[in-house]
Amino acid sequence: MVPESCAVAWNELHEGATASVDFVISEEELRQFAVLSGDFNPLHVDSDFARSKGFDGAVVHGALLVAKVSQLIGMRLPGRDSVWTGLSLQFRQPLYVGRAARVDAVIDRLSAATGMVVLKLKVRTGDILLAKGEAEVLLVQP
């Protein structure tokens, strides 16, 4: 069964509105993402190699954090009627397998002239900031 995405209308949105997605990446999901992306960099799939480079273990692909941003935009804010048109994201700290993390979005700007929603994004594990950035999303209005 396919999860159903929220359908948020333009007039229901307001600057400052927030949404979040909590997630934990398992070893199996990391492996599946390596297959999907073709990125088998040992930093992501070999814990010993990652430790030899100074990390605490295999590092979750940054693109997997982006996938969680995609989930948030497509399923929550603004949800079903949105088309993602732009993203900038800085990665600050690594995320490790099995660690609870959260992506938070807040509406920074609504452009009534264009139907564009600008979201400020932060990905955290506990109090640690993993990534921050911004997404531009077009709300396709009926």
Binding site: T85, S111, A113, T114, M116
Partner: protein
């Protein structure tokens, strides 16, 4: 004179925005320029353009204000009227 200076500043910023969005470092942004003159000026890039201008000048437009624009000159005048 002040108005002319403001308009020059507007065109300087617009040129930077247009060249970034249409990925053309040689694009000349003149008052007569229209979407028909720029190959990459499609509906999505038009939305990017308006949003970038709103953010660069810290202002907002209504859909009606944007819809009635015929060329860059009118866009620059609209921007100037809101500064």
């Amino acid at each position: 004179m002040e108005s002319g200076k403001n308009m020059a500043t507007i065109y300087t910023k617009l040129t930077e925005i247009f060249r970034d969005i249409f990925d053309d470092d040689n694009l000349l942004v003149t008052p007569e320029l229209t979407a028909a003159d720029v190959d990459e000026w499609d509906s999505l890039n038009h939305i990017r353009l308006v949003l970038s201008v709103e953010r660069a000048f810290s202002l907002t437009f209504s859909a009606a204000q944007v819809d009635r624009l015929k060329n860059v000159g009118e866009f620059a005048e609209l921007i100037g009227s809101k500064l």
